[in-house]
């Protein structure tokens, strides 16, 4: 049991290390959680996939229109229409490289589609507003962090020069230095964040869950005594809340049996949800009463 408690403490410590407080003008401290490296990398991969699919769609559309026209351009004098298409392609690839991240991060959500899906956004590190300059700066640096070494590595695949091995390793090291940069500072800043004064924080959108003490599904009347409610703390209450919201019969039976063992009741069967709802409401009422008197109980181990 103590190892479980230690693991939980460790997890809380890890999360606490990433949490920052933002003081709003109302004097309310609003917790922010710095997005982890994995979330950042996941969002980047998603964005690159979107960019790749976009490029693929453009190329396929062009192939459908007729690539022959495009090839003719490289041989003879291009017709104005083909010329326009080529100009558009060059500009589109330029925009994909520099404009995609810029455009989306300048929007009100401060996040690219990949970041939105993961549930993170860019914010100004000083708590102020996220300015256009900051977004421009952080995205220009992306060029040397990511695109330059990757394009260089891809170009090495084609060539067969004498120094390819050394150059390839140099480019890989270059890429790794910048990719792993966020792991070596506490705010998980990449080079672009550092120069722009930004950071990336978790920004999940949540739905308001239903109030649990309203729905009472049964007619049975459970009464719990002071001593029976005193065995658990806030952590167990939250676990119980999670179990009730998930509404999985097996999990509910297990939890009910565990609680009954702990408080010395005889666990029956067939009325798990009813019992747990009643116990949840009673335990929460008990703990919240304590809160109002300034007494909190973190978990079953605390006094």
């Amino acid at each position: 049991m103590s190892s479980a408690a230690a693991m939980q403490a460790k997890r809380q410590l890890r999360e606490a290390r990433r949490s920052r407080d933002l003081i709003t003008p109302e004097g309310l401290s609003l917790p922010l959680t710095i997005a982890g490296w994995g979330a950042r990398a996941g969002a980047l991969v998603l964005d690159l996939i979107f960019l790749f699919l976009g490029a693929l769609a453009v190329i396929l559309a062009l192939a459908a229109i007729g690539f022959g026209a495009l090839e003719a351009m490289f041989e003879g004098t291009p017709s104005p229409a083909v010329e326009l298409v080529v100009v558009l392609i060059i500009l589109a690839f330029w925009l994909a490289r520099y404009g995609y991240f810029l455009w989306f991060e300048l929007g009100p959500r401060g996040a690219t589609p990949g970041k939105r899906l993961i549930g993170i956004r860019v914010a100004a590190r000083d708590g102020g507003r996220l300015t256009a300059e900051a977004v421009i700066a952080r995205n220009l640096l992306r060029d040397i962090e990511l695109f330059l070494p990757v394009v260089f590595l891809i170009s090495l695949i084609d060539s067969d020069g004498p120094n390819d091995g050394v150059m390839g390793w140099a480019a890989t090291v270059w890429l790794l230095v910048f990719m792993l940069f966020p792991l070596f500072n506490k705010d998980r800043l990449r080079a672009g964040d550092l120069v722009a004064g930004t950071w990336v924080v978790e920004a999940p959108r949540m739905k308001l869950a239903s109030a649990l003490s309203v729905v009472s599904s049964g007619a049975r009347d459970y009464r719990f005594g002071e001593a029976e409610l005193a065995v658990y703390g806030e952590h167990e209450l939250q676990v119980l809340e999670g179990v009730l919201r998930q509404n999985n019969p097996d999990a509910m039976r297990e939890v009910m049996q565990a609680i009954c063992r702990k408080i010395g009741w005889d666990a029956g069967a067939g009325h798990e949800r009813e019992f747990l709802e009643a116990f949840y409401a009673a335990l929460r009422a008990h703990l919240e009463r304590g809160m109002r008197f300034g007494k909190r109980k973190a978990d079953k181990f605390s006094a």
């Binding site: 351009m73 520099y98 900051a134 220009l140 999940p204 959108r205 308001l208 209450l237 999670g242």
Partner: protein
Amino acid sequence: MALNLFTRKQAAPPPAIEAATLRSDRFRLERQTDWQRLDAIVTALEKNRLRRIADDDLLDLPVLYRKAASSLAVARETSLDAATLAYLEALVRRAWFQVYGPRTGFLRWLRGFFGGGWSAAVRDLWLDICIALAVMVAGTLVGWLLVAGDSEWYYRLVPDGMAGGRHPGASPEMLAQSLEGTKGAEGLAIFAASLFSNNSGVCILAFALGFAFGIPTLLLLVHNMAMLGAMLWLFHQGGLSFGFAAWLSVHGTTELFAILLSGAAGLHIGRSMAFPGKLSILSAASASGRRAAVVMAGCVLMLVVAGLLEGYARQLVETSEARLTIGIGMLALWLAYFLLMPRRPANAGEHAA
């Protein structure tokens, strides 16, 4: 979506407050209509659908935000409903980003940018611009002197793809031919677009490398200018220095100016990180990074102009005098804009820092 939420809520009202057995749940049921209204407004704001938000909602937004914030403060001390607390925290955080993050729209930002923000940022970087200019001049001289001493250097400085037949020992006629324009405008748009794409890559590289204390930026400037110096020497040998200078100046004054500015922007970041002064390194880096980013946004625009000049004007204008006039005219235009455009009043913009 915003409207959906409203209609759905009217269709299914929240459970009666009296039904809740817990005090904290009653607290929540009393206020959740306001929270959900705020949620709907913030969602609409996030989706940039300003027109779909009713005027009343927009007026109430600050009030609703404060109500939700105070609900959160109270709930933290009285409620143990983890789901509600998490919802409120996420809601207040999202609302905070919308209420206290009033963005200037793109057009307003652009007006501020051209109306003084850009030129002021350029003037702020005067010292870095002077250093970068000195380095560029030195790079040109080095290129010239190296090639003058040993013409083998030419092949090292100028890559084959760029030389295009302009080698040491090439006859003056060949060199002169490379300076001639083309007769028609076909294909020039592609040429201009690819030039722009390529040059802006170089500029952004010069800027971004400033992150490593500015040294790679300086090396990049020296390398690029040494190439120019080598070509200058070559055309000088052919007795074509005036023609080459004119040919170059059409777009060169704009392009080299943009490279100068982006080099200076990179140097500015590197310098402020190496010598942060009274600030911490992080805040010095972010302050200079934002200032330099304004300059960089301008550099990209300058390169669009340079690409058009290089693609069209240089190929279509034939005489050296006309080319030189265009080049010097552009230079005068940029200098006048950067030096004479007044700084905007401090309260009007965010990047006058």
